[in-house]
C-alpha cells in the first residue's frame, strides 16, 4: 500500500511535469505557463499535511531541476517546492479546506515558491533577470496557477485523500 501511494504521487508529479513542458507552452503567455508541479504539491500538502507536502515538494522540485529542458542550477526548485509543501501542509487541517482557503493557499504558494526560486537565482547569479521582469513573471504565474486551480486541485486532493490508509477510529 505504501509503495502504491508513493507510485501514485510520483505519477501525478510526472504527468504534471510533462504537461507543463509539452502542452502548456502552446497556451503560454510570454512563455509563462501554469506551474502544475507546484499545484500537485499544494494539493498533497492540503490533503495530507506537511509531512507528505515537504517530501513530495522536494521530489517534484528535483524532477523539475533535472528533467529536460531545465538548465538552471539543480536544487533551486527542490528548495522552493519543499517550502511550498510545508506551508500548504500547515494550513488549518481540522476541517475540510473551504474554496477560499484553497484559492488563498494556491496564490500564496505560487508567489512564495517562484519568489524563493528567483531569489536563489539572484544569489547564485544563475540566469539572473531584472527585478521588474522577475515580478511580472511571478505575478502572471500566480494568475495562471489560480486559473488552473479549479481544474487541478479537486481531483488531485481527492486522489491523495483516497490513497490515505484507512484510519477510522475504532
Amino acid at each position: 500500500m505504501n509503495t502504491l501511494r508513493g507510485l501514485a504521487a510520483a505519477a501525478a508529479v510526472a504527468v504534471a511535469l510533462v504537461l507543463q513542458v509539452s502542452l502548456f507552452p502552446h497556451l503560454a503567455w510570454d512563455g509563462i505557463v501554469p506551474n502544475l508541479c507546484l499545484l500537485v504539491v499544494v494539493a498533497a500538502g492540503l490533503a495530507r499535511g506537511p509531512q507528505l507536502g515537504t517530501v513530495l515538494g522536494f521530489a517534484a522540485g528535483v524532477a523539475l531541476d533535472l528533467a529536460p529542458p531545465a538548465d538552471h542550477v539543480a536544487g533551486r526548485w527542490a528548495l522552493a517546492l519543499l517550502v511550498v509543501g510545508y506551508v500548504a501542509g500547515r494550513v488549518r487541517q481540522d476541517a475540510r479546506p473551504s474554496v477560499g482557503t484553497v484559492v488563498a493557499t494556491v496564490a500564496a504558494s505560487s508567489f512564495v515558491g517562484t519568489s524563493i526560486y528567483a531569489l536563489t537565482g539572484l544569489v547564485l547569479q544563475d540566469h539572473a533577470l531584472g527585478t521588474g521582469d522577475l515580478l511580472q513573471v511571478i505575478l502572471v504565474g500566480v494568475l495562471w496557477d489560480l486559473l488552473l486551480t479549479p481544474l487541478v486541485l479537486p481531483p488531485v486532493m481527492a486522489m491523495f485523500r483516497h490513497l490515505q490508509p484507512d484510519r477510522t477510529l475504532a
Binding site: A14, V21, R48
Partner: protein, 312 residues
C-alpha cells in the same frame, strides 16, 4: 507543535484530513531536505559544465525525453485547430503581417553586404569551403522551459541517435535559434540565444564590425538581444543585419547565420562602448521545426539535409 484543538475528533469523521501522525513533521526531516537542496545547488553550481549532476540529468532526460516527444506529438493536431476558425479580420491581419514580413525580408537582403564583404576578404574561400561542409539534422521542439524558471531552453526530439552532441548550432528557417547544451539518446536540450546566459559572437553585415550578443532572458514580444561592439568607434545603423561571427573550431556557433536586425543604437558612457538592440529574426514563442548543424557525413537515425539541398 502540538495539536490540541478541541473538537478535533468529532470533525474528523466528516473530513478525511491528514492523519494525526501526518499533521506534524519532524524538524529533522525538513532540515535534511533543506540541506539536501543546498548541497545539490552547491555541487551543481561549483561543478559548472562538469557538474556531478550531469549523469543524473541525462538519466532523468532518458525517461522524460520520450514522454515529452509523445505528448508533443499527441498535442500537435490540436494546436492547429485555431487556424480552422479564421475570420476575415484575422485574414486581413495576416495580410498586414505578411506585408511586414516582406519588408523585413527586404531588410534581410542586407546580408548581401556581408556576403560581398566576405568574398573580398582573403579568408573568404576557406570560410566558404568550411560552410559548404555542413548538413542539417531536422528536429521538432517538443518541450519548452517555463518562464518561471527564468532560463530560456527547449527540448528537441533528436539526440545522440540522430548524430547530435553538445555545442552544435541550432537554426530554423528564419535564423539562429541557439546551441545544444546536453543530449540524451533521443532528445537534446537547446539554449536559446535570448537566454540571459547566452553570448553569441556577432558581426554587423554592412560594416563587418564584430561584437557580442547577449540575451535578455525574455522570450515574448520583448525578446531582444543586446549587441556590444568591440570597436567603440563603430556605430551600427538601424536595420543593419547581424550574423554570427563563428568560432575558430566551428563550434558552438557556425559563421554567417543571420541572427537579427538592429532596432536601436545607444552609446553607454560608463562602459565606453556602443550598444545596439537587436531584434531576432526567429519567433521564439512559436518554435517548431529546427535544424541542427552537423558536419557532413554524420550518421543519423533520420534523413539529413545535405548542404546542396539533397536528402542524405
Amino acid at each position: 507543535m502540538r495539536d490540541l484543538r478541541p473538537g478535533f475528533k468529532l470533525r474528523e469523521r466528516h473530513w478525511r484530513g491528514p492523519a494525526a501522525e501526518h499533521r506534524r513533521v519532524s524538524p529533522g526531516l525538513v532540515a535534511t531536505l533543506v540541506l539536501a537542496s543546498l548541497t545539490l545547488m552547491t555541487l551543481d553550481h561549483a561543478g559548472g559544465s562538469d557538474s556531478p549532476l550531469e549523469p543524473a540529468r541525462r538519466a532523468v532526460g532518458e525517461i522524460f525525453g520520450p514522454a515529452e516527444t509523445a505528448t508533443s506529438a499527441a498535442v500537435r493536431p490540436f494546436t492547429a485547430v485555431p487556424d480552422w476558425f479564421r475570420s476575415k479580420d484575422s485574414m486581413q491581419q495576416d495580410l498586414l503581417d505578411l506585408q511586414a514580413e516582406n519588408s523585413q525580408l527586404k531588410s534581410q537582403v542586407a546580408k548581401q553586404d556581408y556576403d560581398r564583404n566576405r568574398l573580398e576578404e582573403y579568408d573568404g574561400l576557406t570560410a566558404a569551403a568550411h560552410q559548404i561542409g555542413y548538413s542539417l539534422v531536422p528536429a521538432r521542439v517538443v518541450g519548452l522551459g517555463a518562464a518561471q524558471s527564468f532560463s530560456q531552453t527547449v527540448t528537441i526530439d533528436a539526440g545522440t541517435d540522430a548524430g547530435i552532441h553538445p555545442d552544435l548550432t541550432v537554426i530554423n528557417n528564419d535564423g539562429l535559434v541557439g546551441r545544444v547544451l546536453r543530449v540524451t539518446r533521443t532528445t537534446a536540450t537547446v539554449l536559446l540565444i535570448v537566454d540571459s546566459d547566452s553570448t553569441v559572437g556577432g558581426r554587423v553585415g554592412r560594416s563587418m564590425e564584430v561584437g557580442f550578443l547577449h540575451g535578455r532572458g525574455v522570450i515574448g514580444g520583448d525578446g531582444r538581444l543586446d549587441l556590444e561592439l568591440v570597436d567603440q568607434t563603430a556605430v551600427p545603423a538601424k536595420n543593419d543585419t547581424v550574423v554570427t561571427w563563428g568560432s575558430e573550431a566551428g563550434g558552438p556557433y557556425v559563421s554567417g547565420v543571420p541572427v537579427g536586425r538592429v532596432t536601436s543604437v545607444y552609446s553607454s558612457l560608463r562602459e565606453s562602448s556602443q550598444r545596439a538592440v537587436v531584434e531576432p529574426f526567429v519567433d521564439f514563442g512559436a518554435l517548431d521545426l529546427v535544424g541542427v548543424v552537423v558536419p557532413s557525413g554524420t550518421t543519423s537515425d533520420r534523413a539529413v539535409i545535405e548542404a546542396d539541398g539533397s536528402l542524405g
